[in-house]
Subunit: 266 residues, 2 copies
Amino acid sequence: MPCHFAPGLKPFPVPVDQDGIRVEELGRLAAQAVIVTPAHQYPTGVALSPGRRAALLEWAVRNNAIVTEDDYDAEYRYDRDPVGALQGLAPDHVIYAGSASKILAPGLRLGWLLLPGHLTGALSSEKTHADLGSDVTAQLALANFIETGELDRHLRRTRRTYRARRAALIDAIHTHLPDAQIQGVAAGLHVLAILPSETSETKLTAAAAARGVSVHGLSRHRANPTAGPPGLILGYANLPEPAIKRGIRELAIARKQTRARVGRRR
Amino acid sequence: MPCHFAPGLKPFPVPVDQDGIRVEELGRLAAQAVIVTPAHQYPTGVALSPGRRAALLEWAVRNNAIVTEDDYDAEYRYDRDPVGALQGLAPDHVIYAGSASKILAPGLRLGWLLLPGHLTGALSSEKTHADLGSDVTAQLALANFIETGELDRHLRRTRRTYRARRAALIDAIHTHLPDAQIQGVAAGLHVLAILPSETSETKLTAAAAARGVSVHGLSRHRANPTAGPPGLILGYANLPEPAIKRGIRELAIARKQTRARVGRRR
């Protein structure tokens, strides 16, 4: 995914496996800060394992580095209680970032940071220079929504909805794309499906788009787009269950079409 | 006023007189872009004269430069119809910027740009990278407010309110600060009052603050803070008329106090 970094910041990609970010690889870099999504890595869907959580915080303390914890999906865990944030374990080394984008609506453009004390002044100043602050009416509405308990009720309701949508999606994948491997923990609003190595992500996503199904390939999120197996990122946040089933059926048809075309060319 | 410029941009101050920006001084610089507030210069309150408007656009066309027209106060003109925007006269060289901050509320954080066609893609991309767009609910509410004619009604109502507040402010200045010279056209939400050269802006604003009156000195807006006579920027947007009169009375008392203190020190 293309990223926009302020001049002077140089991004280093760090490998991720089933336990999350590989902290020993991070340790080989000269990085002074790392961005992680421990509750639900995007796009692989894995959670940061307990051992890696400890190793990551050790790395930060040893190197006096900053971990930015993007906790974007933490409220939606379906198989167990949400994992606690890293921030509470090392508050002087972790910037915690939360957002209303997944739990309410991206269009609100609201988020929040918990900062190590020594960064508060600098971050407040950056925010002032960037936009003089966020929409006050939306902030007041969100504060009211939280204070009256409506956010908790909304999360309980939507957690049930998204759990059912996820189940419908996985069921449809098993039925229509039986050779796809589903990655990651039961959480969040997307599933990563790994496909057999001969699959062309480009052709498949184009054929799916032609059938009205918009899906992203995994390669666009890789530092090296050709480095691993093909995959699809399947979002289910705003699709009712029948639409999810129809979508996966269409995706399976698109897949047969691309294979048929490959066959004809031979 | 301290400004925050993206790396690579170098600001040049350009003098302003009773006719607005001195375009001949601008012509001596290597500037490729200029930011102006033609309807009501901040903080001097002058309007860009017809001759200067023409000269500024000529400068832009001749140098293939960009004029950013911040039209922040255009809706509030009390002595005549609002002056037309520069943008319509040279749409390929003017970026027009409007805002809901003065006409509705700064807390909405909404504004709009009219761009030369060749800049649309780059600006859209910058906006996406900066914040992924502004609050959608606020944009929808504003669109509805405009479409239903409520914004026009609001402007007609607030124009009367602000005209009366401005009149009350000027009346109070004449009564309590008779040696202050009021600058600029009958427009907007602030008045610039120039004070006799022996006045200490710093002492006066501090003494006023101690009496509950928050005013800004003119020097903080100068490129060279000691370059001209002292002055005060007096905002009246959110003060009812009795509060304006009380405020100027308190300011006059603060002024006497600072003079008295100066006297005692001698």
